[in-house]
Symmetry: C2
Subunit: 356 residues, 2 copies
């Protein structure tokens, strides 16, 4: 199934804090075995096997994260690790990768995807990507995968599907009518019932020439800043002046040649500790454990537990807690208050940045 | 105030598990900074300063704990670390120390005390010990300190005071009428109201000749096993056959020459995690922290927190929990269920003894 001109761009520059204390500046979520036994980026790259040859899998990340990425994905070709001087959201990241791939193969097609999502089963995912590749090739389209919602989620952006464009490799393809911000609960319920709205998974497929043309048209500043860069010092200067912008805002919402492939595989962006309940198995008491440590739960129920490899977390008589051990840091909070991790991180930024 | 013939015997062989995961086989409670910034044994030995010269402070412990003890109390003279091959409760420990001190000074007086209690203020404690030394010298007595109860505690053994014997160095001294096992709540209340019952703090003062005579009379097996031992191999054989017995049962309950000095300083044997609430200060939200780590408490109340030096424990929106970090182990349980730590330890003994 692997196409000779098919590239993958794995975006791995994120530095999220919602998984503190497991995630740190130098070891964000994509480098953690939050689900399964491998770091999420390792799972992401292995998932592409059979569709994209390893020699055409590129990873974009920051210089700070590069050593840990190399360690997590030793099979990655050294020249395929693209380094950003610092993060500027997804539009500059995608532009940087597009220019690099254009140099290698101007007739290429790209799959662009985040490094840290849970997707299953793999064969359905690859099949949908294959359809998206066909759609991208067929009409010079910017193609997104839109996940059919299974519940009225308020934590995701949505893609509104428009006219049906046809069928590619067995998958229906539709025009994109609009991109929609995270809705409130009432709108999310309407979205779910209408059948025309899909979760924006941040997974894109396009020809290199198509995305570059779209960047030039809709994100001219980013395009101009990153075009024709030869050396690292230039790149730093470009990143210093380039706008920080997500590709959705910089390009997708403005372009008119956008298609969506509605998909129904399991997808989760694993945005916070409580989301682990959706993507990891529970023991007989409803406790979800990941990270590679050992859990002893004595009359403990419905907890979400993460401990480093080699760690031991003992819970007695507690329920509905998030309990995280990483290095010599520990977090204990109720599941419904896990978003307050951000406040802890803010406090540490001020008081003890070495602990981040 | 220091007497030339006054020795201290610090019993530091205990291997308690109630402070798991902070306490491990190789690092039991007396070696931990459970209260204050120093290990408890360090505080215990420093507390004796001015009453007992360091050259006459002996520590009895197991071979396994010896290196950690030397590290915690570097000022201890090497020849003053008395090693038991393994633990046999307090009676053999006290006999072993008594024979050793007899060799050094047959006319000596000894203060025998546990390594891991909280006592304050020091001057009252030393003053009471001074009185006990006078009492021990005056009449060949086995003297105990009995702590006046401040609440109807069911977790301590009690000493029932009898006839008043007199006053020593400003402290009343009474005959001991009996030693009483841990009472139920109703009896504990009676004890508190009667004024004649005192907590058995396990602190004893006696002449060396007096305790040896008492051991010979009441614990003949122990006395005979440990008399005249010259070399380590003999000691191992003696410990292999000697009865494991607490001094209270082996001697104190049987002897008739027992005195008690009722004392009113703060004393706590710090028997479990919840007892830290009694011996460490609380922050404005009622959280008690020890161990040397950092605590970030966000809307967290009345928790008992212990973390290693350099650690960080973040609590959000929880209350009445015990949260302990030590190395890469973590315990989370409600304060009122902290006694179940024993069950965790038992499970680990079977399943993962390397984690103890």
């Amino acid at each position: 199934m692997a196409h000779e001109s098919l590239y993958a761009v794995v975006m791995a520059g994120g530095a999220g804090t919602r998984f503190w204390p497991a995630s740190r500046r130098a070891r964000p979520k994509q480098l953690l075995p939050i689900t399964g036994e491998q770091p999420m980026i390792t799972q992401t790259i292995e998932r592409l096997e059979g569709l994209v040859d390893l020699e055409r899998v590129l990873v974009v990340t920051s210089e700070e994260l590069a050593p840990a990425i190399r360690e997590a994905v030793p099979q990655l070709l050294p020249e395929n690790l693209i380094l950003e001087p610092f993060g500027r959201n997804t539009a500059p990241c995608i532009a940087l990768a597009a220019f690099e791939i254009e140099r290698r193969d101007p007739n290429s097609v790209q799959i662009v995807l985040p490094a840290d999502h849970v997707i299953s089963p793999t064969d359905r995912f690859l099949s949908a990507l294959d359809a998206a590749v066909h759609e991208a090739r067929a009409g010079g389209r910017l193609v997104t995968l839109g996940v059919r919602p299974t519940h009225p989620a308020t934590g995701y952006g949505y893609i509104r599907g428009g006219e049906k464009r046809g069928v590619q490799a067995g998958w229906e393809v539709r025009e994109v009518s609009s991109f929609v911000e995270k809705p409130d609960a009432a709108r999310a319920k309407e979205f779910l019932e209408s059948g025309d709205y899909f979760w924006n998974a941040g997974i894109f497929v396009w020809e290199t020439r198509t995305i570059l043309a779209a960047l030039r048209a809709h994100a001219t500043g980013i395009y101009d800043a990153l075009a024709g860069i030869d050396e690292p010092a230039e790149l730093v200067r470009a990143y210093e002046r380039v706008e920080s912008s997500p590709i959705d805002v910089a390009v997708m919402e403005r372009a008119t040649n956008v298609s969506v492939v509605p998909v129904d595989f399991e997808w989760n962006d694993v945005g916070s500790w409580p989301s682990l309940a959706d993507v990891t198995p529970a023991d007989s008491s409803g406790n979800h454990q990941s990270g590679g440590g050992r859990l002893i739960a004595r009359d403990a129920r419905d907890c979400i537990v993460y401990g480093d490899e080699g760690s031991l977390i003992a819970l007695v008589g507690v329920e509905d807690l998030v309990v995280v051990q990483s290095g010599n840091s520990v977090l204990v909070c109720p599941r419904e208050r896990a978003q307050e991790v951000k406040a802890i991180v803010s406090q540490l930024e001020n008081e003890a940045p070495d602990l981040l």
